[in-house]
Amino acid sequence: MIIVNIDVMMAKRKISSGELAQKIGITPANLSILKNQKAKAVRFSTLNDICKALDCQPGDILEYKED
């Protein structure tokens, strides 16, 4: 399964959920879905905005783990 490590990157960059949600233009509720591993898919545009806001690579946010 794919694990979203966005909270790890947020902690590294010392950015709050509200601030990140505002920067990438999604609602805090949707960011929470992403953080809680409940999202079914992530748009490339959203991934692009997250990487831009957190100054990281997609691999820093997404990780594959065997079930």
């Binding site: 949707n30 960011l31 879905i33 992403l34 999202a39 079914k40 898919a41 992530v42 748009r43």
Partner: protein
């Protein structure tokens, strides 16, 4: 949108009219069963008449379940609650009640053969409702995936 709301409103009125018809059918159940038994089926056995009356009233109970589930479904549609799991449950109830009514009609068919036609009709309607339910199920799954796409 306005056009759809008009259709839903008229469907609700039609459903309530059907409920009223079944209610009248319940009130005059015994004379109707007598008519079916003695005139249409030409059966004069009191035991068979009693059995047909039981089949008739069980059929009306099933019809109430179907009509009230349909009314609830239409109320949900009116509130824009369309692709929701509760609607799937209602459709399931409707489909299975149609199957139950069909079985009831098959039993009645042994007394009055015309009841077999009603059984086939009920099974056909169950098939239609179940097919619509499957389509709804797929649509709900797609909507849920879309809602969880960030």
């Amino acid at each position: 949108m306005k056009y759809q709301n008009v259709i839903i409103r008229w469907s609700k009125i039609a459903t309530l009219l059907f409920v009223a018809m079944v209610l009248v059918g319940d009130i005059f159940g015994i004379p109707i069963t007598q008519y079916i038994c003695y005139i249409w089926a030409e059966v004069f056995d009191p035991a068979k008449f009693a059995a047909l009356a039981v089949v008739y009233y069980l059929g009306t109970v099933g019809t109430y379940v179907i009509l009230f589930s349909l009314l609830k479904l239409l109320i949900n549609m009116g509130k824009d609650v369309v692709f929701d799991r509760c609607n799937l449950k209602l459709m399931n109830i409707i489909a299975y009640t149609f199957v139950a009514v069909a079985i009831d009609c098959i039993v009645g068919g042994f007394i009055w053969s015309g009841s077999f036609i009603l059984a086939i009709l009920a099974l056909f309607l169950a098939l239609v409702v179940q097919s619509v339910r499957v389509v709804f199920d797929k649509a709900i799954t797609m909507k849920e995936e879309l809602d969880l796409t960030i």
